[in-house]
Structures are given as C-alpha cells and as structure tokens.
C-alpha cells in the first residue's frame, strides 16, 4: 500500500536555514545541508527547500545548497521559491532537485505549468497554492507569499493546474497557516474532490494528532510542515508513530 508522506520544509535565506533548529548532534543549525541530512535520518519522505529571498544574486548560493544535499541525501528533493521560467526549472533539476515547486509564477503565467510538464514530465512539477476564504464562502488564490489576492477562485484554479499537467498540488491555507490549530480540513477536502492528482496539505500543523487527522479526514497523500519540525517541537518519528498507531500506512 502506498504510504502517506511526511515532508519537512526548510526555508533558506542566503544559503542558511532561516528558522532556528534544535537538532541534537547538528552543530551548525543554520546549515541547510546538515538539517536535510538530519531530516533524512529521521525518516522524512521528501525534503523541500524553499528559497525565501529568491534574488538573482543569491541564486547560485541556493543551488549550491541543493547540489550538496543531493550528494548526501537520498530521498526526493523539491525546490521552490523564485522559479518563474523553464530555464530556472532546468537549473534546479540539474543541481539535483527531483521536483520543482512553482506558485505565484504559475498564477501569473499558467503556461509555465504546461511547458514544465511537457519538457521535464508531470512528476517534476508541483504547483504550490496559497488560498484564503472569501466573504462569499469560497476560496481565493493569493500570490507573492500570500500577500496579494488574485481574482482567481481556488476550485477553478486547481482544475486548470491539473489540466495543464501538474503532477501534484501543495495547498497552503492562509487561514490556518501559523495558527497551529490543525490543517484546513475543509479547504483541503474541497480541493481533493476536484482533482485526481495528489494533494499535499500545508499550513496549520500545531500538534501531533493534526497529521493523523488530516489523513483520516481528507484524501491528501502528504502533509508538510516547517517550523514545527524546525524547532524540534515534534520529530518525524513521533508523527509517523502516531499515524501508524491510527492505522495510516507510513514508511
């Protein structure tokens, strides 16, 4: 049976991990390569690197991090942040990324999804989406790190994302992100019902049982978290043990 995936996300700025990590045995807690190796050791099913600055000048440093990690970590690596052209995708894949995550650039230029899928294969293309409830009871897509609302309905957008050949959707709920009250079950399930491609839950994990809950209440195939794992509040083995105890298939 296909296992549900637990995915830690590392936010990288100028070649360093942004949020503080409390890992035993990792001396340089800002070193993204060491952190990725530690997540790998803990049993992470994939690792996401997110370039939060995504400046032209910092690109080389960021890709060096990906390149070094790919030499030491043997689970799939996803790279996101600042990818807005096919050339950016190619560069990240050549550095050792297995998947590319695009977000704002896809909303502004949906053709980017089709081109990426055609050239590199659907399995490479993850479309990240930030969305928030609106006053009409629907969900609106946001760009630029969740700061700018677009005139795009979430449930229309996910259908287009799938039609254009994306391999996965990583859905971040702005409503639950940072609140730590659990994943946005309602929004996730609405999206899961609309598309056949795998959906990754993001935003809102605050306690151990939140992971099992999202797998029990929606059909997402993976759950992503950043700060929860960064600060060592929860470890990946703890999360997996809890899910397993509740009958959810885990690696």
């Amino acid at each position: 049976m296909l296992a549900k995936r637990i995915i830690p996300c590392l936010d990288v700025r100028h070649g360093k991990v942004v949020k503080g990590i409390n890992f035993e045995g990792v001396r340089d807690v800002g070193d993204p390569v060491a952190c990725a190796a530690e997540y790998n050791r803990q049993g992470a099913d994939e690792i996401v690197f997110y370039d939060i600055v995504a400046s032209y000048e910092g690109r080389g440093t960021f890709l060096d991090v990906v390149r070094e990690t790919a030499k030491q970590v043997f689970v799939p690596l996803t790279v996101g942040g600042g990818i807005s052209t096919v050339a950016d995708m190619r560069e990240a894949l050549r550095a050792g990324a297995d998947k590319i995550s695009i977000n704002s650039a896809a909303v502004k230029n949906p053709q980017l999804i089709s081109e990426g899928a055609e050239i590199f294969g659907s399995q490479c293309i993850v479309v990240g989406i930030d969305a928030k409830r609106n006053k009409d009871g629907g969900f609106t897509v946001y760009v630029n790190g969740g700061r700018v609302a677009m005139p795009v309905d979430l449930l229309d957008w996910v259908v287009e994302v799938e039609r254009r050949g994306a391999g996965e959707i990583c859905l971040n709920s702005i409503d639950t992100d940072g609140v730590r009250g659990g994943f946005d079950i309602e929004m996730l399930q609405a999206v899961c019902k609309r598309v056949k491609i795998p959906v990754i839950a993001s935003g809102g994990a605050g306690k151990l049982s939140d992971f099992a809950s999202v797998f029990q209440q929606t059909t997402v195939t993976a759950a992503l978290a950043a700060s929860l794992f960064h600060f060592g509040e929860l470890t990946i083995p703890e999360v997996k043990a809890d899910c397993r105890a509740k009958g959810i298939a885990m690696r």
Partner: protein, 201 residues
C-alpha cells in the same frame, strides 16, 4: 568497476551521486568497449519508452548492453527496468531489449492516482542477492505510469497499487530491474546498490 550507461537519461546524476556516496567505483560511459571491460552495468532511465530506446540505439549502446547482460550483472532502474522487457505500448508499440520475457503497459486500475508516485511497500516473492541483509518492512520510492507484466518466475518483489506492480524483476541469471528508484529510496535503496556492487565481484 560499474559502467553506468550514458544515453541522456534524466536520473543519471542521482544514480552517480548515490554511487559516489557509497564509494562504489563506476564510470559513466557511452563507449561499448568500456562496458565490455566493466564488472557490472547500470541502465538508468526516466521519461518515455520510445524516446529512451531511440536514444540508446543512437548512442550505439543497445548491442553492448544486451551482450554484456549474458555474462555480468545488469541493473535497469525505472524506465531502464521497463526497457529490459520485450515491448511497451507507451505511445504505440515499441520493442524493448527483450532480456526478460514480458511487456510494459499502462497501470490498469482506474481507482488509483496515476502516476504511481511515492513510497510503497515491497511484497517479496523470491530471495535475491539484491535484497540481502535488508529488513522488512521495505519501502521504496516509485514514480511511474506504466508497469511491467511478467511471469511469477521473473518477479522478485511487487508493490500493491490496486493490483500487482512488479517492483524488482530478474531473468533468473544476470539481469535485474527495479521499477522504483533505489537512488531515492533512503537507506534501504542504498543497501540494494551496495548489494549490486557485491554481485559484480
């Protein structure tokens, strides 16, 4: 020395990263003579079947792979595994290397998400030197939309994805194929590559 066949496959560098990490001596080559000199051969592969067969033919490596498969261990990975079979119907019927009896078709179930992507547990059907020392549960990382159909005698292990997806196959002698990516399957995947190196000696 393991020869990793260079014909433009996308996962070549991931495979080499893993071999480097394990300190396994290897050479990336498009030279048939170098394949003849190697102790074992790895055939990587990602993408579409016809394009990969064509690229292998155009690289002049098809003969070298088939000849050497009669006398030294060969490991096909992902699409490289599918190419070991007689044919595939991905984008029309296309002949494969014919080293293992069977064919490649789209994953038949309509109840599951295609591609089959993620970590799936292997159900082991026969012993293999590739699996030596690797405990269970054994989970490996898959990304594919087509799968092999082959006889039980060629099946080392399968994954359950609303049906049996052949995961590790063999011709019973020197030829092995992994539908999953051992180079992306964590510690257990690395152990398989290490076992393959042992078989080369």
């Amino acid at each position: 020395m393991i020869a990793v066949i260079d014909y433009g496959a996308g996962n070549l560098f991931s495979v080499c990263n893993a071999l480097n990490y394990l300190n396994i001596a290897h050479t990336v080559t498009g030279d048939p003579a170098e394949v003849d000199r190697a102790d074992a051969v790895i055939l990587p592969g990602v993408g579409a079947f016809p394009a990969a067969m064509q690229a292998l033919n155009e690289a002049g490596m098809t003969g070298a792979v088939c000849e050497n498969a009669k006398k030294k261990p060969l490991l096909g990975i992902c699409l490289g595994m599918q190419m070991l079979f007689e044919q595939s119907d991905e984008m029309g019927i296309c002949a494969g290397l014919g080293l293992i009896p069977g064919e490649v078709k789209r994953i038949p179930s309509e109840r599951v998400i295609i591609p089959h992507m993620g970590w799936n547990e292997l159900v082991i059907r026969q012993e293999s030197p590739l699996l030596q020392g690797i405990g269970t549960p054994l989970y490996t990382y898959f990304v594919h939309s087509y799968q092999a159909f082959c006889a039980d005698e060629n099946l080392i292990a399968y994954a359950d994805y609303d049906g049996r997806v052949p995961a590790l196959v063999t011709d019973g002698q020197f030829v092995f194929g992994a539908q999953f990516h051992p180079e992306k399957s964590g510690e257990q995947g690395l152990m398989m590559l290490r076992n393959f190196e042992r078989m080369a000696k």
